[in-house]
């Protein structure tokens, strides 16, 4: 089974999110970018599936900040090919444009299955995977927590609220949005990533020039004005603990003692 995993770079949510001058996007020039964590789950599931069925895993990323590191890391983990699609992406990429670029590139590739992260922190215009599937006119399953070989195709476990799981069979080409792989994404050492870098195995191609307007306009981005905020407890850990004890005791949540 030949599997393609699109990898997206997204701002690191741990960082303070600075906005650009007109307040309509994050300040992409200075923020730290990391691999979309759901794409890392998709890569892990793809590697597990390849180990079970044979075949190949190809990762593909568009030329966003620090994407090389993400693609080399994927090669070090066991991906067979890594492809970087070049173009002007400095001002961010909508899901519709990303999906259109991927669809154009996949048109020239041989593949059976696309596994992609179910969402990303900035997919304001929808999740890439489901848009991609419908541009390709293939089946799609979202919020998948397992993809396994099944009667020549795959069986996808799709998660619903409350832990309910639906199993679906896919008999043709499909795009699956991965929520979580069957195991935590594997660790790879820096030395193996370096070895992948030195192998020079990163293929490069131009991203297709696509017409993929979202039809949406971001007027402004802003931190949510919360109607309330926690009362922050002062002091060191012992002071904080003492205050929490006082609060829970006032409410009768600590049953005994004075």
């Amino acid at each position: 089974m030949d599997i393609v995993v699109p990898m997206q770079q997204t701002v690191d949510l741990v960082e303070e999110l600075e906005l650009n001058d007109d307040g309509t996007d994050v300040e992409r020039e200075y923020l730290k970018f990391v691999a979309n964590e759901w794409d890392e789950q998709a890569l892990e599931e793809a590697l597990l599936l390849k180990e079970a069925t044979g075949g190949t895993v190809t990762v593909v990323g568009i030329d966003e900040t620090d994407v090389d590191g993400t693609l080399f890391s994927a090669l070090a983990k066991g991906a067979d090919r890594a492809v970087k699609l070049g173009g002007d992406f400095e001002s961010g990429v909508s899901s519709h444009r990303r999906a259109a670029i991927l669809a154009a590139w996949l048109g020239g590739e041989s593949y059976d299955l696309v596994l992609v992260g179910v969402q990303s922190p900035e997919d304001l215009d929808g999740q890439t995977g489901v848009i991609l599937a419908n541009l390709l006119d293939v089946a799609h399953v979202s919020v998948a927590i397992g993809v396994q070989p099944h009667e020549g195709g795959v069986k996808v476990s799709q998660e619903f609220g409350g832990g309910v799981v639906q199993e679906l069979a896919l008999s043709g080409r499909a795009v699956v949005g991965i929520q979580a792989a069957r195991q935590a994404p594997r660790y790879v050492s820096i030395s193996r990533v370096r070895a992948a870098m030195q192998s020079g195995a990163l293929e490069e191609a131009d991203a297709a020039d696509v017409d993929a307007s979202t039809g949406t306009t971001v007027r402004r981005l802003y931190a949510p004005e919360s109607t309330s905020h926690a009362e922050m407890l002062a002091g060191d850990a012992d002071d904080v603990a003492a205050r929490i004890l006082e609060i829970v005791r006032e409410r009768g949540l600590v049953k005994t003692g004075g």
Binding site: L13, G126, S171, Q179, V218
Partner: protein, 320 residues
Amino acid sequence: MGNDIFVLVEHTQGAVDAGTHELLGKARELAAQSGGRAVACLLHSGARAAADGLAADAVLAVEHPALEHFLPEAYVKAMAALLAEHEPRATLIANTTVGMDVAGGLSARAGVPLVAYCTAIDLDGDELVATSQVFGGKLNAEVAVDGAAICSVVAGSFAPAEGGSPDVQDVAATGLDDLTTSFIARIVPEVSDVDITAEEILVSVGRGIGGEDNIELAQELADALGGVVSASRPVTDGGWLPKARQVGKSGQKVKPKLYIAVGISGAPEHLEGMAEAELIIAINTDENAPIFDVAHYGTTEDLFDVLPALTEQIEAAVSA
């Protein structure tokens, strides 16, 4: 573009999801503004009765054997046909598993713009203006669409509307005969040893706990308080705690008397499962973590210092 507001009805073989009623509540409000109707789209196989009592002006009921279970491919194609035929002003879809599988695909197929993760929607002339929750809940986006739009909506954003006697119109299904997706099984989880929805005190751990070995710190606090340990998604995904302990959109919705959030940032998916707890205390070193917006009390002191200190003080108080 017409004036109607469409809602995708989410149901399990006729049992309608609570989220659908929230969407209908908003749809009625928007329809009053646009001068159109609130129209529920019911995709089903032998579950037409689910249309009765929906708070909609009309129901478009599409029946086909492929719609007995939720097959994403079938839903997207059936909805795309309805949008092409009726050209609604807006289409509201819940941001659930079903919604995530339908909204984007519908946008691609029907060529209608999508605003995802909406928590507010308004009409302003020919424009639709929505508030979208992005960047893990750390930022809101005010997004405008000129013309027809699809909105996927975060649970709990709108007041539900129930009760009504809509005009039900049966619509022939097209294009659903040659699908490559088929249903195998629906698996409902077995009841586990611990039912976190029934507990009064939860000590809930998130990614900040750092690893499986550190969960013991939370367990000791839970033991001292007479509660149990629950978790956010990264912890159960990592296999550090069983899935039955997960709080949030894809886990359990809980409403305990005390919820201590330990190393949990408070992504929207987590808040959806616990924001109604009676008392929420959050421990997180990131002072900007969204969990502090729903917590009653909070601290940015290190959890590895606070947990043992708190456990010790509670044990002392209990035995005093």
